[in-house]
Amino acid sequence: MYEFQYHKASSINEVKEKISSLNDPKIMAGGMTLIPTMKQRLAAPSDIIDLSNINELKGISKEKGFIIIGAMTTHFEVHTSELVKKEIPSLAFLAGLIGDPMVRHRGTIGGSVANSDPSADYPSSVISLGAKIITDKREIESDEFFIDLFETALDDDEIILSLKFPIPNKSAYMKFPQPASRYALVGVFISDTKEGIRVGITGAGPCAFRSKEIEKALSKNFTESAIENVNIPSENLNSDIHASAEYRAHLVKVMAKRAIKKLS
């Protein structure tokens, strides 16, 4: 690890101030990606601004048909929240599949979403549920948020405050883990929302995306068999030592079917 200055901010304003005044700062949520990267000397920020002391970024609440989860809420908290388990059980289920107990107690939903790791679990739920990403500057629609590999619509100095999940009629997540990392080789999140059926895919492409093909098929007929003849193009999907693009495309269908099965 290279040397850096550590700051523990106690308010969003303090974070903003530090971002503008420091040389090459990095905001740290749970640090579950950032710290290993720094340990491997692949990142060398001059300063780390730790968000863990900012209370307004924590907690889970329900407001008019939405579940609002503070950006610094840990995976463990989402996984075990009675509120989330009651209103969006698939989201609580998803959080329990992330990493191991240590990671789930440190890692946060805001950190995961902001990182846009192609194989992270949360982005599929954000897209599928049509969540809004509330930042210190604006509200971003989930469809506009994930841009590319580790790239989001966030400005460099923009901070996620919370995620606002509309409570769906029903939803389900199915994941096929990459054997080594247990990240999602393919993860499919299907929601029956007020705006219709929405399907979020993670692991398969450069970043999480909606499968319009599956949405269309399910909108007509919300059954496993409706997906059978859907063509998932593999051209733009990831291909690496763990899975070819063709296998990933196939798994998208399989996981989608299993998510539907879970819902029926």
Binding site: A180, I241, H242, A243
Partner: protein, 772 residues
């Protein structure tokens, strides 16, 4: 038999200390005046070093020293020798270039050693690595052993004509060729034994200390063989071996990988003398991936000839074995004398011929990894048997019944050399088939199909060769406080040997289990030793204890006779007491041990302290039968192991609980290799792609079968006094072929005869998808 004697499934006495966090692993050791080391490793698979400039690095604040090959040369520090010698079939000696401690002119794999930095902190040492400037001339590299064996391959060593290390053979080629020429039925299989990273939970490490006044070095390092370490490290340092003490603290796993000597273990004491400080180095996980010896990496073509009744007549095997860029201490032995001599397995095969070509590649050096050649051999023969059965219409169980060595032929000498002293191989098979409900498997397969699962079952009859030597000395010392110290040259690597030894000694001498202290892993305390590896420790250690106990009892009888005022011939010994025959007059062995010389006549020695040697001249042959039942998800290719049955003949079982743990661990290591573990190099540039746990898959709890049924078919070994055969590697040796056989069986409807390891979900899905 006492409460803690032989055969009792008691919990390990070493566990509480370790579970409470009181273990003392290398990284827990800290010394005053301690500096830290870091290794500069090659980023290239093959390059000529044109220049090394350390100036900027050495001037950094906190940097104490930077060592390069030039320094080693000036101080006559020499490289690490390979101790295994394999002669080629053309009579030539193997290629045997000395492995340098630090690269001189060339680097030969990603991770190769270039320089060693010593600094006041670990952070400074690591930072300094980035300030060392090296001008490389990057050369072509080769990582695949088959490609490396070709004439036009890039050469790993510029001063050698080819990448050939050896071209070894065993068995009667002419006879075997003749049998194949005239055989009606033949089968063959081409297979790869995938390269695996050892991944002990505790990475390697070393602390070097130099005591100027005593002119003595101390090397703390987790080592499976401190005495070998002492010999080789003192040899490289050019010092008398008595001027080096090697201490192995608690160890978090070795699996063979911590037997061998690595450059750090020479660099640390050397650096310590140079900077006049204790110097510590611990490997991080990324370093472990590119510097710990790795395992397996064989490419094989195997053939079998049989008659129309299914009786095997001969096997013929050709293997290309990857040695890596340098020859680790025992690497050439693994694929040859250690492994392929076991190729005929438990079958009565009259003739066999094997040819092994060892090659250099630009990869991490290979050496022994749990089983060391025997899992490779067992994988080959068990696959070959299944392929032959499928090819020629024999049931998998029946072809084994036809060919397993019958009891009346035991002891049995195989055509490749080993002599199996004992065993009941058919019973292993029949018991395992019965427990695994083999006979009605196809009902379960049909039922699974309805759920979209392809169910498979596989047999793996295995035999392994546990090492016969070197012999171990034991010294048993009766302490004044009533405890007993046992000094022995084997090592605790997490296998529970302290408990097993204590059980043996309680059984032999009736000494309280809790009062027995096993002292190992310090060359200043224990004079000699052969270390731990090859599943041999308990067999040799217990044999030595048996011999020592006979002498101790004889000595004790003399003392007891005097104390009890009886004739020596009238003294019996059992359960820790010397008793006058036919009376209730008795005295405990620990009281006998406390007798002062002044209370005895001169001709009776008051000391029970005794040294003895294991005095065993043969290896042993643990054997058994595994049956694995699994399901493959037809949609994803995901494999779930369901029932796993093992019947083991490990000879005398000292502690069934410990053995069960060893067998479980061995099977998990086996299933890891079969299903997921895969060390992958980028062939274009020699970079290790699977260099972290993000990409290198290790088995986890949910990969383990929910039930492993283990039964013992205990046939005592005839070659050592307690009849022990050894248990450390048996699980792994049996697992590979067995699990692959089950996978092939699961997908038999797709016409596959073989599936390569690791059988990843995608590769299995590919088979299913291609035919559906």
């Amino acid at each position: 038999m006492g409460q803690f004697g032989v055969g009792q499934a008691i919990r390990r006495k070493e566990d509480i200390r370790l579970l409470e966090g009181k273990g003392r692993y290398l990284d827990d050791l800290h010394f005053e005046n301690q500096a830290y080391g870091a290794v500069l490793r090659s980023p290239h698979a093959h390059a000529k070093i044109k220049s090394i400039n350390i100036e900027n690095a050495v001037n950094l604040n906190g940097v104490l020293d930077i060592i390069t090959a030039k320094d080693l040369k000036a101080d006559n520090i020499t490289g690490i020798p390979c101790l295994a010698k394999v002669e080629s079939r053309d009579g030539q000696d193997m290629a045997n270039p000395l492995r340098p401690i630090l690269a001189e002119d060339y680097v030969r794999y990603v991770g190769d050693y270039i320089a060693f930095v010593v600094a006041e902190t670990k952070e400074i040492a690591k930072a300094a690595l980035e300030y060392i400037e090296i001008d490389f001339d990057i050369l072509d590299s080769i990582t695949n052993p088959v490609d490396a064996s070709k004439n036009d391959s890039p050469r790993v060593w510029d001063n050698l004509d080819t990448n050939r290390v050896f071209d070894w053979e065993n068995g009667n080629k002419d006879k075997v060729d003749d049998i194949f020429k005239n055989s009606e039925l033949k089968s063959e299989v081409h297979l790869i034994n995938n390269r695996v990273v050892v991944n002990s939970m505790e990475p390697r490490g070393a602390i070097g200390q130099f005591d100027k006044d005593k002119n003595k070095f101390t090397l703390y390092t987790p080592s499976q063989n401190v005495h070998l370490m002492k010999t080789l490290v003192s040899g490289s340092l050019g010092i008398e071996s008595e001027n080096l003490r090697v201490v192995s603290p608690d160890m978090g796993g070795g699996f063979g990988m911590k037997v061998f000597i690595y450059p750090e273990q020479i660099l640390l004491p050397y650096a310590s003398k140079r900077v006049n400080k204790t110097v510590k180095w611990t490997s991080d996980r990324s370093e472990a991936f590119i510097s710990d010896t790795q395992g397996r990496d064989h490419v094989t073509k195997a053939e079998i000839a049989l008659d129309k009744n299914g009786k095997f007549k001969a096997i013929r095997v050709k293997t290309i074995s990857n040695m890596g860029a340098y020859l680790s201490n025992f690497a050439p032995m693994i694929a040859t004398q250690a492994g392929t001599v076991m190729l005929t397995g438990l079958y009565d095969i009259p003739e066999a011929y094997v040819n092994v070509l060892g090659v250099f590649t630009n990869t991490v050096p290979i050496d022994a990894y749990r089983g060391a050649g025997r899992p490779e051999a067992s994988h080959i023969i068990e696959r070959l048997v299944d392929v032959a059965a499928s090819d020629h219409g024999f049931a998998k169980d029946q072809i084994r019944r036809i060919n397993l060595i019958p009891n009346e032929k035991v002891p049995y000498k195989t055509p490749l050399g080993p002599e199996y002293d004992s065993g009941n191989f058919i019973k292993n098979l029949e018991d395992a088939l019965k427990i695994s409900k083999w006979s009605n498997f196809y009902e379960r397969k049909k039922e699974a199909k309805k759920r979209g699962k392809f169910r498979g079952i596989g047999i793996g009859c295995y035999v392994e060769a546990a090492a016969g030597g070197p012999n171990e000395d034991v010294e048993i010392i009766f302490e004044e406080d009533g405890s007993v110290s046992v000094l022995i040259g084997t090592i605790a690597i997490g296998q529970g040997i302290v408990t097993s030894y204590s059980q043996v000694l309680e059984e032999l001498l009736g000494i309280d289990f809790e009062k027995i202290n096993i002292i190992m892993g310090d060359t200043d305390k224990v004079a000699t030793g052969g270390g731990t590896g090859g599943s041999k420790s308990l067999m040799l250690g217990a044999s030595a204890m048996k011999h020592a106990s006979v002498e101790i009892i004889n000595k004790g009888k003399k003392i007891a006779a005097h104390l009890l005022e009886a004739s020596e011939a009238d003294i019996n010994f059992s359960d820790g007491y010397f008793t006058i025959k036919g009376t209730d007059k008795k005295i405990n062995i620990t009281d006998v041990a406390k007798t002062k010389q002044s209370d005895l006549p001169e001709n009776i020695d008051a000391s029970l302290n005794t040294k003895a040697n294991s005095d065993v001249s043969n290896g042993t042959y643990p054997n058994g039968c595994h049956v694995c039942e699994l399901e493959i998800d037809g949609d994803t290719g995901h494999v779930k192991l369901l029932n796993y049955t093992v019947i083991d003949d490990l000879g005398k079982v000292i502690n069934p609980l410990i053995v069960e743990g060893q067998v479980h661990g061995g099977i998990v290591q086996g299933l890891g290799q079969v299903l997921m573990e895969h060390c992958i190099y980028d062939h274009s540039n020699g970079q290790l792609i699977t260099g972290s746990f993000m990409d290198y898959a290790m088995p986890r709890a949910d990969n383990v079968p929910p039930k492993i049924s283990l039964g013992f078919n205990e046939v005592l070994c005839t070659k050592n006094p307690l009849g022990i055969k050894g248990a450390g590697e048996a699980g792994t040796v049996g697992a590979l072929g067995c699990i692959v056989n089950a996978l092939v069986n699961a997908l038999e409807e797709f016409g596959v005869s073989h599936i390569e390891m690791p059988a990843t979900p995608e590769s299995l899905w590919g088979i299913i998808n291609s035919k559906q």
